[in-house]
């Protein structure tokens, strides 16, 4: 049976009579509108952290996506709000037998001075899985995003390694309705090169995009670490492929900075990099979504 789950979450600032704490960059954020249909559901704990950040866990009944599932979610982070969208565990995509693609279409809208952190666990595509994911972010020139997208080799403990049929991932970012960033990757076997043959040394493929002036300290930390020139005689490490590009966009004479980090490595090395991304965010998001997970 095909399942189609649709959902919407709007995060808005809580209006209170108390004066806004001068130190806090973001106002107390909470979900003001939640809609969902089977098999999709949201967990939005009231006390996920000590800060003003709102934590959202989209979950599906059954703990994974089966063949033909289609999930459609729209998130809207309103002005001065901060939200973390994460998961309790990895998103499992089961194998497909009838050649029907499993899909997730995610849309995010980020308003002025808001921060959206997408810090989910890896997508785990089981053997023969066929999965398509599209993420579209529409932010304003004053908005901020931290997106971390992870794909694992499969059920590593069972010896599964890149045996998926197809994984298509597209990421599109608009700033003030102008497209600025587009990345589409499509892993699939071709007659000349199998996904397993080319990727078997690695366990995690990670992509991280950071854009916005409120998160420029994170951009600086990552750029400093990963764009440092190699020393004489120093060779790259095959087991840790990691690269970074600076992003710079000019929208109506305003300059917006960011970075684009990608890594391909073992699970343990990947979590070291993930930690470097999450640590500078802790004062804002409160706790580490990857705590105790590896």
């Amino acid at each position: 049976m095909k399942r189609r789950g649709e959902g919407t979450v709007v995060v808005d600032a809580v209006r209170t009579y108390q004066p806004r704490v001068a130190r806090a960059k973001y106002e107390k954020s909470q979900a003001s509108c939640i809609k969902h249909s089977y098999p999709l559901k949201f967990l939005i704990p009231q006390y996920a952290c000590e800060t003003n950040c709102c934590w959202i866990y989209p979950i599906t009944y059954g703990g994974g996506l089966v063949e033909g599932d289609h999930i459609d979610i729209a998130f809207h982070i309103k002005q001065n709000c901060c939200a973390v969208i994460t998961s309790q565990e990895s998103t499992k995509v089961y194998g497909c037998e009838k050649n029907i693609v499993t899909k997730q279409m995610l849309q995010y809208q980020v308003d002025d001075d808001a921060l959206l952190c997408l810090l989910g666990d890896p997508i785990v595509c089981f053997k023969d899985a066929s999965y398509t994911q599209s993420q579209e972010i529409r932010m304003t020139a004053e908005g901020n995003i931290v997106l971390l997208d992870l794909l694992s080799a499969g059920r590593i403990a069972r010896g599964e390694s890149w045996q998926l049929t197809s994984f298509k991932n597209s990421l599109l970012v608009y700033i003030d309705d102008q497209p600025v960033f587009n990345e589409v990757s499509h892993l699939e076997n071709t007659p000349w090169l199998s996904v397993h043959a080319s990727m078997s040394e690695y366990e995690i493929l990670g992509t991280c995009i950071v854009i916005g002036n409120n998160v420029k300290n994170l951009v600086e930390i990552l750029c400093k670490k990963y764009s440092a020139q190699k020393k004489i005689g120093e060779r790259g490490d095959k087991r840790l492929l990691c690269s970074i590009s600076k992003l710079e966009y000019t929208i109506e004479k305003k300059t917006i900075l960011g970075c684009y980090l990608r890594f391909l490595t073992s699970a343990s090395k990947a979590y070291e990099i993930i930690d470097e991304i999450v640590q500078p965010l802790l004062p804002i998001i409160g706790t580490n979504p990857y705590h105790n997970k590896y």
Partner: protein
């Protein structure tokens, strides 16, 4: 194809045509320095990955630019879309450099009015887009354009493998001859794609190329 067309094609796709592809290794140099190439088989797979990425990502831009070469607004849109689709700054710079040289050379050599106007409007001049436009304006058919594009990339990466001391010149020609046979299949699989479907097939080469700038010593520009 008559002999004049063939001669034209040979001139345009000759390595002496000054578009500067000899200074690019399509990410091979960084792959070598990252220890990704330990044997001849590794080299072969990296070249295949490069051809697959070219077919699934660049070829749709070549095809679409070829089909819309008369529409300068569409070419500008394609050029901008190509620009935002390559956030890997090393690949982006390599593409734009070669595209600018291709356009500059063709404008001076052939002096087509439409290319002169276009050169004033394009902001980034990405190679795949310009390649499609130039081959269409010169009067090549689409199949020839696609094949010449793929063959140019294969030649560039093979010749850089020789200069990086991975294989000897004779062995290089053997591998090139062997891999020529997969090009028609790659073109066929990506023939109906437009720029909206353009995607990267193998991220390994792209990620290692992306860190080209931090290598201590390098022979190539990308």
């Amino acid at each position: 194809m008559n002999s004049l067309e063939l001669l034209n094609l040979l001139q345009l796709s000759d390595s002496a045509f000054p578009i500067g592809s000899f200074s690019h290794s399509c990410g091979l140099e960084s792959a070598v320095q990252h220890g990704l190439i330990k044997s001849k088989d590794d080299l072969r797979s990296v070249i295949i990955a490069c051809l697959e990425n070219t077919g699934s990502f660049s070829l749709p831009f070549v095809t679409e630019a070829y089909n819309k070469s008369w529409d300068s607004a569409e070419i500008q849109r394609l050029d901008n879309f190509h620009h935002i689709s390559v956030s890997n700054h090393v690949a982006n710079r390599a593409s734009s450099k070669q595209g600018k040289s291709l356009l500059g050379t063709v404008v001076q050599v052939y002096q087509f009015d439409e290319l002169i106007t276009l050169s004033k409007h394009l902001q980034h001049c990405h190679y795949a887009v310009l390649f499609g436009v130039v081959f269409s304006v010169v009067g090549m058919d689409l199949k020839t354009t696609q094949t010449a594009f793929m063959s140019g990339v294969l030649r560039t990466i093979i010749s850089s493998a020789v200069r990086l001391d991975q294989i000897g010149p004779i062995e290089a020609q053997k591998i090139q001859l062997d891999l020529l046979s997969i090009i028609p299949d790659i073109i066929l699989r990506n023939d109906n794609k437009t720029s909206a479907d353009a995607s990267i097939k193998s991220p390994i080469l792209d990620i290692s190329q992306n860190s080209h700038d931090i290598l201590f010593s390098k022979l190539f520009y990308s």
